[in-house]
């Protein structure tokens, strides 16, 4: 059975990593089974297509409405949270965000952090940043914990350890924690529970993400099934929430459809076990909860996406993962192939603004544009349209103004000329018909190898006569009349 390779040692390009993943039968099977199950769960959670479509439309409009007045909403959120006793911090870059988090921990002389699941903290690579400064930062979501224990990165935004099976987890717990081996999932989870309970008690700081930040009431909403989010945000004396600036919604009522869309799209659940709404630190007469609550609002390229009205739609995302669950490419290559924090279709359209298109030049092309992602997106992000747009940005000539960070990464003068040639062929009927004539007449001479195409296919051989030819003859014979 194959050895899982830490993501840092994988080949540097998408195609190289994909090749490795495709050759790993266990990995492919793990993903296929998991994605099939997630797809059917989602389908069952939306039995009524009209209800589903109405809710998706509402989700889209709430997010678009929020984005259309994002700066005002962020200020309102800040004001309300401040009134509630929450300290709000702003960070343009992940370096700034990490520094802010580190400063808060330092001020408390803390050296142990527990983390609830947070994709933004993944984006910040917070664990590594804090570890380098002598602070232990422990993941407490079971999947994240497993992945961290094995020095890996999450391979799915909702199911971080979906690429692993119970046997692999058992071996990991045995090797790293000295636990006896068992493939009983319940026992494995109880090992995690025991280990992490101690950590929750000892931690100086709890870090979490945010699913929705509500401007009207100054509230941070978190959804989860495990309870580690509640632990991380309640037990340690300090709670630091980190989130992207796009997570703010205007009103409390907005979370009703958004939470429903999120949990049904992600896991097929009508609601998660816990929905945790936090509006401030412990009050003087209360007996638990953190003494300090901080919110770090991170930009990290989001304002860049925001600047482009079409790409702004990427900021609708509520991180449900449905697009990857339904993606035939993701299903086959898994999350690590993407080499970035956010895998799958959504990763392909948001990563360029964070990392620069030149760092992920293959991502826009790694799609057959089948449209499954756009069809299931709960907030109706037109993912295929945006992938197509990124393909345009990818092949822009260097002398053209670049609208996306790192644009023009795939520009090739040779390829541009090929498409110019294609254009000429298809806009000059005489030329096109001559091509048809030659291709059909000399079909026996057509090449036996046609680049990458013939890796998977036999060489295409043109027909004896083109449709142009057959149609002309047929319509001539019949005088263009019904026969």
């Amino acid at each position: 059975m194959s050895q899982r390779i830490p993501v840092t040692e994988l080949p540097s390009d998408f195609r190289g990593r994909a090749e490795g993943a495709l050759a790993d039968g266990q990995l492919r099977n793990n993903f296929r089974v998991a994605m099939d199950s997630l797809m059917s769960k989602r389908a069952n959670a939306f039995p009524d297509a009209d209800e589903r479509e109405g809710l998706r439309e509402l989700g889209n409009r709430i997010k678009a409405g929020a984005l259309s007045r994002l700066p005002d909403l962020l200020e309102q959120l800040e004001q309300k949270l401040t009134e509630n006793g929450v300290k709000v911090h702003w960070a343009e870059t992940i370096e700034e965000a990490n520094t802010l988090v580190h400063d808060i921990i330092e001020a408390r002389k803390g050296n142990q952090v527990v983390k609830g699941k947070s994709m933004v903290s993944e984006e910040m690579e917070m664990n590594d940043y804090l570890a380098e400064r002598g602070i232990e930062c422990l993941e407490s979501d079971m999947g994240e914990y497993i992945v961290q224990l094995d020095n890996e990165k999450p391979s799915h935004i909702i199911m971080p350890a979906i690429h692993k099976n119970a046997r692999q987890v058992s071996k990991l717990f045995h090797d790293k924690l000295g636990e006896p081996e068992t493939e009983d999932v319940n026992q494995l989870i109880q090992i995690g529970r025991r280990t992490l309970r101690q950590k929750f008690m000892e931690a100086d700081v709890g870090v979490s993400g945010v699913n929705f930040a509500i401007a009207e009431t100054g509230t941070l909403l978190l959804v989860e099934n495990e309870g580690n989010g509640r632990m991380s945000t309640t037990v340690p004396p300090v709670h630091i929430a980190v989130t992207g600036i796009e997570k703010v919604v205007p009103n409390l009522r907005d979370v009703v459809p958004l939470v429903s869309l999120l949990t049904r799209s992600a896991l097929g659940q009508p609601i998660t076990t816990y929905v945790n709404l936090i509006s401030g630190p412990r009050k003087p007469d209360e007996l638990d909860g953190p003494e300090e609550v901080h919110l770090v609002l991170l930009d990290n390229g989001r304002s860049g996406a925001f600047a482009d009205a079409q790409m702004r739609q990427t900021l609708n995302c509520i991180r449900c993962g449905a697009c990857m669950n339904h993606c035939p490419v993701y299903t086959r290559v898994g999350g690590h192939t993407y080499g970035e924090v956010y895998p799958g279709p959504i990763g392909k359209i948001i990563t360029p603004h964070m990392a620069g298109l030149d760092n992920v030049p293959d991502h826009p092309s790694a799609s057959s544009l089948c449209g499954a992602c756009g069809e299931v997106c709960p907030v109706k992000i037109p993912i295929p349209e945006l992938l197509q747009r990124l393909r345009q940005e990818n092949v822009k000539a260097p002398e053209q103004p670049q609208q996306v960070k790192g644009g023009g990464a795939k520009f090739s003068r040779r390829e541009r000329w090929i498409w110019r040639g294609w254009q000429m062929l298809n806009t000059r009927p005489v030329l096109y018909r001559s091509f048809l004539w030659a291709a059909t007449r000399f079909r026996a001479l057509s090449p036996k190898k046609a680049g990458p195409w013939t890796e998977n296919h036999s060489a295409p051989v043109p027909a004896r006569r083109s449709l142009h030819d057959l149609a002309a003859q047929h319509l001539d014979q019949n005088g263009g009349r019904p026969s």
């Binding site: 259309s68 092309s365 057959s368 998977n456 263009g480």
Partner: protein, 279 residues
Amino acid sequence: MSQLFYDAAPNATRVAPEREPERVYPDKPEAVTLFGTCVVDLFFPEAGLDAIHLLEREGVRVHFPQEQSCCGQPAWTSGYRDEAKAVARAQLDILDRAGLPVVVPSGSCAGMFRHHYRALFADEPDTLRRVEALAERTFELTEFLLKVCKVQLADRGAPSKIALHTSCSARREMNTHLHARELLQQLERVERIDHDHESECCGFGGTFSVRMPEVSGAMVKDKTRSLMDSGAVEMVTADGGCLMNINGSLEKQKESFRGRHLASFLWERINGTSEGEAA
């Protein structure tokens, strides 16, 4: 695209377009233009000819402008907007000359006319009006036969089991899977068999198949496997791209199972023969 914007500013925040109302179909026209598509033109011309036969059988006169070439999709999906636009403009001019309803024996190309030309010409109001009119009168072949011609097919073939593959864009932009199923249902002795992961992409995706041959190849292998495992004796599809991908892969794998274009299949079933290339 006007419904995408709540105010005129180009930097306004966008919402998803309203759900399209169910398409209202016109009465059967006297004549149509057949847009053959480049893949059918060169690789599956018999399917185009069978499409003509099917239309003529319904009493519809078929025009085939000899100036037509490709809808522009390959360049568009590859990010070569200008090149795609030039080719699209040429087709728009040709199709506007006759002004007839346009029937396309390939869902993704029909989707190009119906949906993506709008994006290509969003910045040219005058052209956009012509594009809207083209979208309005463009029909995928199965859709046209079923909804406009209200075709009645009498099955004259031997009992057979087939699998239907629908291209993704045809499925999501044109509802081709539903139309094709309904047409096949009219054939008494044809049993349509569901195959595993039927709605999943075959991995073609135009240039995706050559830019990401590893992933695309894995997808088409899975697709051909589930088609062959389904118990069907052949596959039919109304999309030339998928057909080229699936048949090419089957041939490479030295499998005898094949797919063919739905137009040829239907024409054979109602006549007991296909004229094919020999015509």
